[in-house]
Symmetry: C2
Subunit: 354 residues, 2 copies
């Protein structure tokens, strides 16, 4: 089977299929989500995810159906009037539009696709939305910038889209209020589960909205998540197989060592960016080194899109298409824990011989 470099859904993590088979063998799909057995593996997933990502006790972990859903829940639960959005690609822009759809005053802080943010503004806002890794363009927002944003805007809730950056991103969670992702990127799972990490300030804000008479949604509002989460349960019948498998994958990654995974991620990104820098036909889309994402690497293909895509395909590799308006001019390469060093070396060799 081909190696999938599309940035999500992407290559499955090595152990996902086995864990899924195990889930079926042990009756996980038929378990009531109010049963002791469910509570046990829910807790296992919580604990191993917490250990893997180093999430402190100040932050809760809740499950949604997708990161797309979490955009909606963030605005419903945390915003009365205004949110501010750092937009540098399609996904950060979608979140901005979600806020508008929910009739909030959404502030746009935008730079061109492929560019990063330089200035840390003072914002008079309830929620600041930053996309740590723009999956559409391969631009990263450095953690220092994110922490500086919080320092300059201590009363705003800082919410970080880490969809294609976790588990590689090593956040200091004490400096952010919410982080969220979906499992079909860095965790190498089938799509259908989002993970929403929130601190007490988020919980307090949602309770404040509720007390003041605002609607904060229904089953997936934060007080409902919290009340059920305390019992190791979910508000509704969830994608239980995915919750189970996520815990097992987190356990596997812990065993392999998260530092080791992160070092490999750096190695793989360095050899690919080096190859793009010296390549005759390709150039990296993101020019400034500080903003080059280590986990989603985007190449401008200068008319060679189809030829390169076909060439890689014939060598057993599937590149991701450029996103939206960049389709046809770019190819994207995910660099997730599911992509081995050997697969990346083969990718780089193939680009060189192209």
């Amino acid at each position: 089977m081909k190696t999938i470099f599309s940035p999500g859904p992407s290559q499955l993590y090595f152990t996902v299929e086995d864990h899924t088979r195990h889930a079926f063998k042990h009756g996980i799909p038929s378990l009531s989500h109010r049963s002791k057995s469910f509570e046990k593996f829910y807790q296992h997933t919580q604990e191993h995810l917490r250990a893997l990502l180093n999430i402190p006790p100040s932050h809760h972990i809740f499950f949604s159906s997708s990161a797309t859903e979490i955009w909606e829940r963030l605005i419903q639960n945390l915003v009365i009037e205004k949110s501010s959005h750092f937009v540098n690609g399609a996904f950060s822009e979608k979140f901005y539009k979600v806020s508008l759809q929910l009739h909030k005053q959404a502030e746009l802080i935008q730079v061109e696709d492929g560019k990063g943010f330089h200035e840390v503004p003072e914002l008079n806002t309830e929620l600041i939305a930053v996309t740590h890794n723009e999956t559409s363009t391969g631009v990263t927002v450095p953690c220092d910038f994110i922490y500086a944003l919080k320092e300059k805007n201590p009363r705003s809730l800082l919410c970080v889209d880490a969809v294609s950056s976790l588990p590689n991103a090593n956040f200091d969670y004490t400096k952010v209020d919410s982080v969220y992702f979906s499992v079909q990127k860095g965790f190498g799972m089938p799509p259908g589960l989002g993970v929403w990490i929130v601190n007490e300030a988020c919980i307090a804000k949602s309770e404040e909205l509720l007390s003041a008479g605002y609607s904060i949604g229904t089953h997936h509002n934060l007080p409902s998540y919290l009340a059920n989460g305390k019992k190791n349960q979910t508000p509704e019948t969830p994608n239980s197989v995915a919750i189970y498998v996520l815990g097992k994958v987190a356990e596997d990654m812990l065993r392999r060592g998260i530092e080791h995974i992160r070092k490999e991620t750096v190695y793989k990104s360095v050899i690919l960016y080096q190859e793009l820098a010296r390549h005759e036909k390709l150039i990296p889309f993101v020019k400034e080194k500080a903003f080059q994402s280590p986990t989603v690497i985007v190449a401008e293909t200068n008319g060679y899109t189809k030829a390169l895509s076909d060439y890689l395909d014939s060598h057993g590799m599937e590149a991701g298409e450029g996103y939206g308006s960049h389709k046809g001019n770019q190819l994207r390469f995910a660099n997730f824990p599911a992509h081995s060093k050997e697969q990346y070396e083969l990718l780089v060799d193939s680009l060189r011989s192209f």
Copy 2:
């Protein structure tokens, strides 16, 4: 492995594990939801579900993460001021509360748990919510009652919760505006996917709300579903494996014959209700025959709950607990296509020998 009679998550349909394995083998988990291959199996699922349930072209089929989510989407998309709810158990009551949480004027038409509705009222309302099969109490609302409701209230949108009644329920879709369910009941799949069937009147109402300046939610609003559905796509990265497997299960059920499945459902329900009627220790919770659900059969256990549950367990069968306040006084038995005649005969024999 034990036969699971809990009404959901429940016994897996015979072919689900194989189809899941096949999905992994063919790379479904890593497929982009904007790819041709995705569109192909999305269409396959649509067509086979449509054929199985006899859904006319006037109705669209959309995918959510759960029926619980669909409650929220129904109110967001279809109600400006008022919804009316027929409540006779925990799940119909939850939907009523969803409407209140979204700040609508929710009208309650309530009978005691275990009882049915006799009167067809004239209602001045935008949305009428009926639960075809109350999973918590085993009460069914006969289709004739549902159709009469629509006839008496032609300007209200009639929305039918068919969570634990499909694929057994044989609806005349021309007489209802929306029907919804989740796949972990009658379709015998792992939880994590809801199916939302809506007609053009629902689409028109959501567009009317949008034009008039109301917020109708974000990615899972009806215009967004419609725009993506026309391309055989979903608004967000969905639980694609579940969409794939659902299509395969629908195909299997079509091959087996839906009439055959429905006849077997009747046979199984008749032998269980007969046994409950003549049993010395047990009685059916729902007394009036017209309201006895064929797909979720609830027994009052008169102090024998634990003894019976343990007895069945020792014979390789898992009964469902009573729901909510009925826990401890009742046991529930799902009668889904995944439960064979032989398994039901064994269940009935075991109840007799208890």
